[in-house]
C-alpha cells in the first residue's frame, strides 16, 4: 500500500463561477421604424411607376376616344341618310296601305288624330282630333308598322338553326354552306 496518484481521468469541465442561464439576443439589424420606412419606400416607388403607367393608359384611352369622336360626323351623316331613306319608304308603304282612310297621316306623330286622348292613350269615343305631340321640335317615331308577312324583319341571328343548340354554328359566305342563304346580300 502506499500513496497512489490518480491518472488522467475523464472529469467534467470545471464549474464556472457564474452560469449564464439567461437568454441573450443581441440587438442587431434595422429597427422596426426603419423596416416600416423601407416597406413604405418600396411601396412608394412601386406606386410611382403604377401612377406613370395609369397616366399612359389614360392618354391611350383619350386617343381612342378622340379617334371615335373624330369619326362621329362621318358615321352620323351616313346613318342620317339611311334613316331618311327608311322612313320615307315606310311612309310610302303605310300611305299605300291606308289609301282608303283619308284622314291618315303615315309616320307622323304631330298630325291631329281622332281617338287620341291625353298622354297618347287611344280611346275610340274621344272624337276630338288631337295630335300625340304638340311640340315644334322633331319627334322621332318610336314604333313603325312592318307587316309580318313582308320579309323585311329578320331575326338578328338568322343563320342559327335554333336558339338553344349552338354547338358548331354554321358559317355563312362559305362555298360549302348548305344552310339558309344570306337574305341581305344574296
Amino acid at each position: 500500500m502506499g500513496s497512489y496518484t490518480l491518472g488522467v481521468q475523464d472529469q467534467p469541465p470545471p464549474m464556472p463561477q457564474t452560469i449564464a442561464y439567461t437568454r441573450y439576443f443581441p440587438r442587431r439589424g434595422p429597427s422596426g421604424a426603419v423596416v416600416f420606412l423601407g416597406v413604405f419606400a418600396t411601396m412608394g416607388v412601386g406606386f410611382y411607376y403604377v401612377g406613370l403607367n395609369n397616366a399612359e393608359r389614360r392618354e391611350i384611352r383619350r386617343e381612342k376616344a378622340w379617334t371615335r369622336i373624330s369619326l362621329v360626323p362621318l358615321l352620323q351623316a351616313e346613318t342620317d341618310r339611311d334613316v331618311v331613306r327608311r322612313l320615307a319608304s315606310a311612309r310610302a308603304k303605310e300611305s299605300s296601305i291606308m289609301q282608303e282612310k283619308h284622314d291618315w297621316a303615315a309616320v307622323d306623330l304631330k298630325e291631329p288624330v281622332k281617338g287620341i286622348k291625353r298622354y297618347g292613350i287611344y280611346d275610340e269615343t274621344h272624337q276630338h282630333a288631337t295630335p300625340v305631340y304638340y311640340t315644334d321640335r322633331y319627334v322621332a317615331p318610336t314604333y313603325l308598322f312592318v307587316p309580318r308577312e313582308s320579309g323585311e324583319l329578320l331575326p338578328a341571328q338568322w343563320w342559327r338553326g335554333s336558339k338553344f343548340f349552338t354547338i358548331n354554328p354554321p358559317y355563312h359566305n362559305r362555298a360549302d354552306w348548305k344552310g339558309k342563304t344570306d337574305p341581305i346580300n344574296e
Binding site: L71, A77, E78, T79, R85
Partner: protein, 182 residues
C-alpha cells in the same frame, strides 16, 4: 324600331324576350337609329328629291387609322355638321352638311390612295394599308401599331407644313369652341 300589330288596343303587348313591343321609349337613343329587335331589311332606294352622294365605303380599321387626318382635313365641314345637329334632331335638316362631310372624307380617301396629297410616284397607299392591316391584327389598338403609324404619318406629312407633330397644339386652346357662323 319595334313592330306592333295590336288589334286589341286596351292591352299593352309587352311581347317576348326578343320582341319588346311595349318597351319604354325613353330608353331609346334618339340620335342613332338602333334596331333592337333584329335586322330590318329595306332595299328601297333613296327618294329622288335627295341628291345622291357616293358612300365612303371604308371598314373600321382604315377609318380608325384615318381618323385624326380626317379630323384635320375636314374640320370645317365636321364642325358645321355637328352645329347643325345640335340645333335639331331631325335627320332631314342636316342632310346637306352630311353630304359635305362624306364628300370631304371621300376626297381624303382618294387622295391617300391616289397619292395626290404627296405627289409621290411610288408607294401609293402602302403605308396606310400596312397601318390598318396591323390594326386589324392587334384588336384596333393604336398603341400596338406605332411603327406603322409613324411610317404612315411620315409619308402623309412628307414636305408638308401641316404636320402637327412636335408642335404644342394639344395644350394650346386654339378655337376651343366652334363659333356659330351666321
Amino acid at each position: 324600331m319595334e313592330m306592333t300589330k295590336n288589334e286589341d288596343n286596351d292591352e299593352v303587348d309587352y311581347g317576348t324576350a326578343n320582341n319588346n313591343v311595349g318597351r319604354d321609349n325613353q330608353t331609346l337613343n334618339r340620335w342613332l337609329a338602333i334596331f333592337v329587335d333584329g335586322l330590318w331589311v329595306d332595299k328601297t332606294p333613296m327618294p329622288d328629291s335627295i341628291p345622291h352622294v357616293p358612300e365612303v365605303g371604308l371598314t373600321s380599321a382604315p377609318l380608325e387609322s384615318m381618323a385624326f387626318h380626317f379630323a384635320q382635313y375636314c374640320k370645317p365641314y365636321s364642325e358645321d355638321f355637328m352645329l347643325c345637329k345640335n340645333g335639331t334632331q331631325d335627320p332631314e335638316k342636316c342632310l346637306k352638311e352630311g353630304r359635305r362631310v362624306t364628300r370631304c372624307a371621300l376626297d381624303l380617301k382618294i387622295d391617300i390612295i391616289l397619292n395626290r396629297i404627296n405627289k409621290l410616284k411610288a408607294n401609293c397607299d402602302e403605308e396606310w394599308k400596312k397601318h390598318w392591316e396591323c390594326l386589324d391584327v392587334k384588336n384596333h389598338n393604336l398603341w400596338q401599331c406605332r411603327n406603322q403609324e409613324k411610317a404612315f404619318n411620315d409619308w402623309y406629312y412628307k414636305d408638308d407644313t401641316r404636320d402637327p407633330r412636335g408642335s404644342d397644339t394639344c395644350s394650346l386652346e386654339e378655337e376651343p369652341v366652334p363659333q356659330v357662323k351666321i
